[in-house]
C-alpha cells in the first residue's frame, strides 16, 4: 500500500468564514485504493474539508491546491467533482422517501433515450448496481419502506451509478445498528479490493481501527498527523490522543455509587404501535430504578427501548394498553407529558435536533422551556430569573457559549446536549431517562456528559441510560437491562456485564435472569 500512487492531494488548504478560520493550512494525502479515515472532534473541520474537495465551497473561496489524479483541479460545484468521480455520501441521506429505489439511484442522472427517461435501462442498471452493494430488494420499493441500513446502501449504489473513483462517506455508520454497520464495513473492504478509494469520516474509533489503512487527524482546523495504521501500530487510544491533544487517562470519570431504595417501578408494561395496532411494541415489560442508581438499557436499534421510555414518559409514544407505574411506593398515572414532568420524570430524547430542542431558541429560553411555571409569578415570566437559571447551568455544565443569549443552533452537538440536560435538570426531576445521551458527541464532551450523569446519581436521582454503545453502558451503569423485540430479556449487575453476555441477551428472547 505504501508504494501505491497518490490519488488525491490537498495542499495547505485554508478556508475562512467571516470571523472564523475553519481550516488553516490543512494537508491531506490519499493513496489510490486505500481506505483513508479522517478523525477529529466536532468542529475540527472534517466536513468543511470534504466540502472544499467536492466543490460545495467552490474554487476561489478557499486557499490552497487540490491535486487529483496528478492534476490541479478547480471545482466550482458538486457536478464537476462528481463528473471526475468524487462522490460524497452525507450523514443525512439525500434520498427522496416517496420515490422508489431505482428512481433514487438515478435521481439527477437519469438514463435517457431520445429525451425521455429510459426506465427499462434504469431498472436493469439498478439491479446490477444493487447487486454490487449487496442489496436484495425489489427496485420498485419505496425508500421509506426500507430500513436506514438499506437506505445507506442505496446511497452507495447511487454513487456507483455516477462511476465513482473516490467515495467519501461522512459518518456512514452513525445511524446503523451493529449488523448493518458490519455489512457496510465489509462492503468497503470489497471496494478496496476492486481498487476504489474511500475516505471515511467517523467517530467510531473501533471501526476506523478495524478498516482503515491510514488516518489523518484534524484538530481545530489544522492537520495534526497522518498515521499509517499497519506501520505505526495504531490503536484507539493512539487516535484519541491525537484528536484531543492529550492523554485521556480514563474514558469515564471516577464515581462511587451510592445506591438507595427502589423508588421507581414499572410493572407489566404493554404498548401497541400508534398506527398499526396489531404490533405490540412493549410486551409485558417490568423494571425498577433505585435512588442514586444508573440503570442501562441495552438493545439493538428497533428493539423498542426508545418506545418503552417514551411511552412511560406521559404516553408520548404509542397506544397505551396496560401496565402500572409506581413511584415511592404509590401508583401514579402519567397520561400526558405534563403529568410526567409533574411527577418528577425527565426524558432526554435521542434526537435532540428533531425533538429535543427548538433550534430557533437561545440557550436561556431552551433551559427553562420544560418548566416555565418555575419562573412565572402571577402569570408573568421573570426574565431575570430565567437568565440566572440558564447562566448557573451554563457554568455548572461548562457549556461552551459566550452567553446564554446564544442561539442553540450555533452550538456543537456536545454543547447542545448540555443545554438539553440543563433543560431537564431545571425541572428538578427524580428520574432522568437519557436516550443515547452521547450520540454524535466527540470524545472530550462525552467524558463531561458522563461526569454530569454520575453527579446526578450522586445527588440521589435515578438515571436511566439507553445506549447502543456497549462500552458506554458497561462503564457507566450500575445495572443493565437488555431489550429484544419489545421484551426485557435480561438484567445484569455492573460486575456481570460484559459485551459478550449483553450481546447474547440483546439478540435472543430467551429470558436469562442472572441475579
Amino acid at each position: 500500500m505504501t508504494n501505491a500512487p497518490i490519488l488525491l492531494e490537498m495542499r495547505s488548504i485554508t478556508k475562512e468564514f467571516p470571523g472564523v478560520k475553519a481550516l488553516s493550512d490543512v494537508n491531506l494525502v490519499v493513496k489510490a485504493g486505500e481506505i483513508h479515515a479522517i478523525c477529529g472532534e466536532n468542529g475540527a473541520g472534517k466536513s468543511t474539508l470534504m466540502k472544499v474537495l467536492s466543490g460545495v465551497y467552490p474554487y476561489g473561496t478557499y486557499a490552497g491546491d487540490i491535486i487529483y489524479q496528478g492534476e490541479v483541479v478547480r471545482y466550482s460545484d458538486i457536478r464537476q467533482s462528481e463528473r471526475a468521480g468524487i462522490v460524497i455520501i452525507h450523514q443525512e441521506l439525500a434520498l427522496i422517501p416517496d420515490m422508489s429505489i431505482t428512481e433514487n439511484i438515478f435521481l439527477g442522472n437519469e438514463p435517457r433515450k431520445r429525451g425521455a427517461i429510459d426506465w427499462t435501462a434504469a431498472q436493469r442498471q439498478a439491479l446490477d448496481l444493487m447487486a454490487r452493494v449487496g442489496l436484495t430488494e425489489d427496485p420498485d420499493t419505496l425508500i421509506k419502506d426500507i430500513g436506514v441500513g438499506k437506505q445507506q446502501l442505496v446511497e452507495i449504489a447511487k454513487a456507483f451509478a455516477k462511476d465513482v473513483k473516490l467515495l467519501i462517506l461522512d459518518e456512514p455508520t452513525a445511524a446503523l445498528n451493529e449488523a448493518d454497520s458490519q455489512h457496510l464495513l465489509d462492503l468497503l473492504r470489497g471496494f478496496r479490493e476492486r481498487g476504489i478509494t474511500s475516505i471515511m469520516i467517523s467517530h467510531k474509533l473501533n471501526e476506523i481501527e478495524a478498516i482503515s489503512d491510514s488516518i489523518t487527524i484534524l484538530r481545530d482546523g489544522k492537520t495534526v498527523e497522518t498515521l499509517d495504521v499497519k506501520g505505526d501500530g495504531v490503536d484507539e487510544d493512539r487516535i484519541v490522543r491525537g484528536m484531543v491533544g492529550r492523554e485521556l487517562s480514563s474514558r469515564f470519570p471516577d464515581h462511587t455509587p451510592n445506591i438507595g431504595e427502589v423508588f421507581f417501578e414499572v410493572r407489566n408494561w404493554n404498548v401497541r404501535h400508534p398506527i398499526s395496532a396489531e404490533r405490540q411494541v412493549c410486551k409485558n415489560e417490568s423494571f425498577t430504578v433505585r435512588r442514586g442508581e444508573i440503570v442501562g438499557f441495552a438493545g439493538l436499534m428497533g428493539a423498542g427501548r426508545t418506545e418503552l421510555a417514551m411511552s412511560v414518559f406521559g404516553r408520548s409514544y404509542g397506544a397505551f394498553e396496560s401496565g402500572q407505574i409506581f413511584k415511592d411506593g404509590k401508583e401514579i398515572k402519567l397520561k400526558s407529558v405534563a403529568d410526567a414532568i409533574h411527577h418528577g420524570l425527565a426524558y432526554v430524547s435521542e434526537d435532540r435536533k428533531a425533538i429535543g430542542l427548538n433550534l430557533l431558541d437561545d440557550i436561556k429560553t431552551s433551559t427553562v422551556a420544560a418548566k416555565l411555571s418555575k419562573i412565572t409569578h402571577h402569570g408573568v415570566l421573570d426574565e431575570a430569573e430565567e437568565y440566572q437559571a440558564a447562566e448557573s447551568y451554563r457554568k455548572e455544565l461548562r457549556t461552551k457559549a459566550p452567553t446564554v443569549h446564544e442561539g442553540v443552533s450555533k452550538l456543537s452537538g456536545g454543547n447542545q446536549q448540555k443545554v438539553v440536560l440543563a433543560k431537564w435538570m431545571f425541572t428538578d426531576p427524580d428520574l432522568l431517562i437519557l436516550d443515547e445521551p452521547t450520540r454524535g458527541i466527540d470524545v472530550g464532551a462525552k467524558y463531561e456528559i458522563y461526569g454530569i450523569i454520575q453527579r446526578l446519581a450522586e445527588q440521589g436521582k435515578g438515571v436511566i441510560v439507553i445506549s447502543s454503545e456497549l462500552p458506554e453502558l458497561i462503564g457507566l451503569c450500575d445495572r443493565i437491562y437488555t431489550v429484544f423485540e419489545g421484551q426485557i430479556t435480561g438484567e445484569l449487575s455492573r460486575e456481570q456485564a460484559n459485551p459478550e453476555t449483553l450481546m447474547k441477551q440483546m439478540t435472543s428472547t430467551k429470558k436469562m435472569q442472572i441475579r
Binding site: P18, I201, V337, L359, A369
Partner: protein, 441 residues
C-alpha cells in the same frame, strides 16, 4: 467595536431581534418623512405643512387601518404557531352583517350587539380551532373553506345588500375621545393619554435597567437611557399634540385606542407569559414542545379561536366606521394582515415574529398606501407598489440571513461595522440544519 455599532447597540439593544425592529422603525420613519416632503412639495408649502403629518391625516390613517392592525395581532400569533388564517375577511364580514341585523331587526342595544359579535367570533373560532387542532386538518384548508363559507353566509344573511348601523354603534369605528374638562385648546383626554404613554415609557426604561442589573449585566450608560427616552418622549409629545389639536370634535380615534390597548395586551402576553412562549415553542418545533409538556392541541385551538374573535372585532369596527355592513366588507383583509406580519419579520415556517414587528410592518404598508393616495397615485399603481414592497422587504431579509447578517438594517449598517465579525456561518462538523430563514416555504 466601532462607535456607531456601540451606539446602535446601546440605543436599541444588542440583540438581533431588536436590531431588526430598529430597522423596521427606521424604515417607517423614513417613509413618513419622505411622504411629508413629497406632499409638501406637491402642495407647494413648507415641510411642516405637508399633508402626511397633518392632524386629520393622522387620524384618518389610524381609523382606516386600526382593524387591519388588530387582525395583524391575531395573525402574528397564528403564523408564529405555524398556521395561517385566510378566513379573517369573511369572518369579519359575516359578523358585521349579523351584528347590523341584530340592531336593525332584533333591536339589540349596541353594547349588547358588540358582545353578540364577539360571541359569534368565538363560535366561529371554536369551529375552525376544532378542525385545526383536534382533527388535524391544515389551517390553510380549514380557513380557505371558512373564507368561502363565511363570505357566502354574509351574503346569504344580508341578501347581498348593505344594512346601516345606528349612530351609537358607529362610535367604535368613527368616534373620537370626547371633550371633557376645561378648555385648553386641546382635547384633554388625548393629552392625558399622551402623558400616560410618556409615563409608561419612562417606567419601562427604569424596569429594563433593573432587569439588566438583576441579570448581572451592566445596564447601558445613563446618558444612553436619557437620549433614548428623550427621542421617544419627543415623538410622543409631537403625536399627542397632533391628535389633541385637530379640528374641534376630533381627537384620538376610539378605534385607535382599542387597537393600542390590544397591541399592548397581546405584546405582553406573547412576550411575558408562559402561554405566549408556548406559541413560539409549538411553531419552532412542535414535537420538542410536546415533549416539554406543552399541550399542543390547546395552543393550536387557542390561536385559531383568538384570531376569529379578533376578526369579528375588526369587522365590527369597520362596519361602525362605514356606517353600514355590506357584502364586500373585509375583502382581501387576510392578505393585508399576512403582509403586515411578514414585513414585520415573521417566519413562514413559524416560531419567529413579534407583535410590535407586525404592527410596524402594518404601519409601513398603511403609510405607503396613504402617502401614495395623497400624492394622487391611482389604486392600480398603489397595489403594484405594495406588492413589490412586500416582496423586496422579505427578500432583503432572506438574503441578509443567508449571508449571516440580520435584516434590512443589518445591511444598512454594514459599512460601519468593520472590526466586528458578523455571526459566523458555523463551520462545525455538527452540520446543524440551516436556521429557518424568514421566508422559507
Amino acid at each position: 467595536m466601532s462607535r456607531f455599532k456601540e451606539l446602535q447597540k446601546n440605543l436599541f439593544g444588542g440583540q438581533t431581534s431588536n436590531a431588526r425592529q430598529f430597522g423596521m422603525i427606521f424604515t417607517l420613519v423614513a417613509i413618513v418623512l419622505l411622504f411629508q416632503i413629497l406632499t409638501a412639495n406637491r402642495a407647494g408649502v413648507g415641510f411642516g405643512d405637508g399633508l402626511t403629518l397633518r392632524s386629520d391625516n393622522l387620524m384618518a390613517l389610524l381609523q382606516q387601518n386600526s382593524y387591519i392592525l388588530i387582525l395583524a395581532v391575531g395573525m402574528l400569533m397564528v403564523i408564529v404557531a405555524g398556521h395561517i388564517d385566510l378566513s379573517v375577511g369573511s369572518v369579519a364580514a359575516f359578523t358585521g352583517i349579523l351584528v347590523a341585523k341584530s340592531m336593525a331587526e332584533w333591536s339589540f342595544p349596541w353594547p349588547v350587539a358588540i358582545l353578540f359579535g364577539l360571541a359569534i367570533g368565538a363560535a366561529i373560532g371554536v369551529w375552525q380551532g376544532f378542525w385545526v387542532a383536534y382533527v388535524g386538518v391544515p389551517a390553510f384548508i380549514v380557513t380557505l373553506a371558512g373564507m368561502l363559507l363565511f363570505r357566502g353566509a354574509n351574503q346569504f344573511v344580508g341578501n347581498a345588500q348593505t344594512l346601516p348601523v345606528p349612530a351609537g354603534f358607529q362610535k367604535i369605528g368613527g368616534g373620537y375621545l370626547p371633550e371633557v374638562g376645561p378648555d385648553t385648546g386641546y382635547n384633554n383626554l388625548t393629552l392625558l393619554l399622551g402623558l400616560a404613554a410618556i409615563a409608561a415609557v419612562i417606567w419601562r426604561e427604569l424596569q429594563a435597567r433593573r432587569t439588566r442589573r438583576e441579570m448581572n449585566a451592566d445596564p447601558a450608560p445613563l446618558w444612553v437611557s436619557i437620549v433614548r427616552l428623550a427621542i421617544m418622549i419627543a415623538v410622543l409629545i409631537f403625536v399627542t399634540l397632533r391628535f389633541a389639536g385637530g379640528r374641534v370634535g376630533t381627537s384620538f380615534p376610539i378605534s385607535g385606542l382599542i387597537m393600542v390597548v390590544l397591541v399592548i395586551a397581546y405584546a405582553f402576553y406573547t412576550r411575558n407569559t408562559a402561554g405566549g412562549r408556548h406559541i413560539y415553542a409549538v411553531g419552532g418545533n412542535s414535537r420538542a414542545a410536546e415533549l416539554s409538556g406543552v399541550k399542543l392541541k390547546r395552543v393550536n385551538f387557542f390561536v385559531m379561536m383568538n384570531m376569529s374573535i379578533l376578526a369579528s372585532l375588526a369587522g365590527m369596527i369597520y362596519v361602525a366606521r362605514a356606517g353600514a355592513s355590506g357584502p364586500q366588507d373585509g375583502l382581501n383583509w387576510e392578505l393585508d394582515a399576512i403582509a403586515a406580519v411578514f414585513i414585520g419579520g415573521a417566519a413562514v415556517a413559524g416560531g419567529i415574529g413579534t407583535i410590535s414587528g407586525s404592527i410596524v410592518g402594518g404601519l409601513v404598508m398603511a403609510v405607503l398606501n396613504n402617502g401614495l393616495q395623497l400624492l394622487g397615485v391611482g389604486t392600480d399603481r398603489v397595489q403594484i407598489i405594495k406588492g413589490l414592497v412586500l416582496l423586496l422587504a422579505v427578500a432583503l431579509d432572506v438574503y441578509n440571513k443567508s449571508q449571516g447578517r440580520f435584516s434590512i438594517i443589518g445591511s444598512l449598517m454594514r459599512p460601519f461595522r468593520r472590526d466586528e465579525p458578523s455571526v459566523p456561518a458555523t463551520p462545525s462538523d455538527a452540520s446543524a440544519p440551516p436556521a429557518k430563514t424568514t421566508v422559507a416555504g
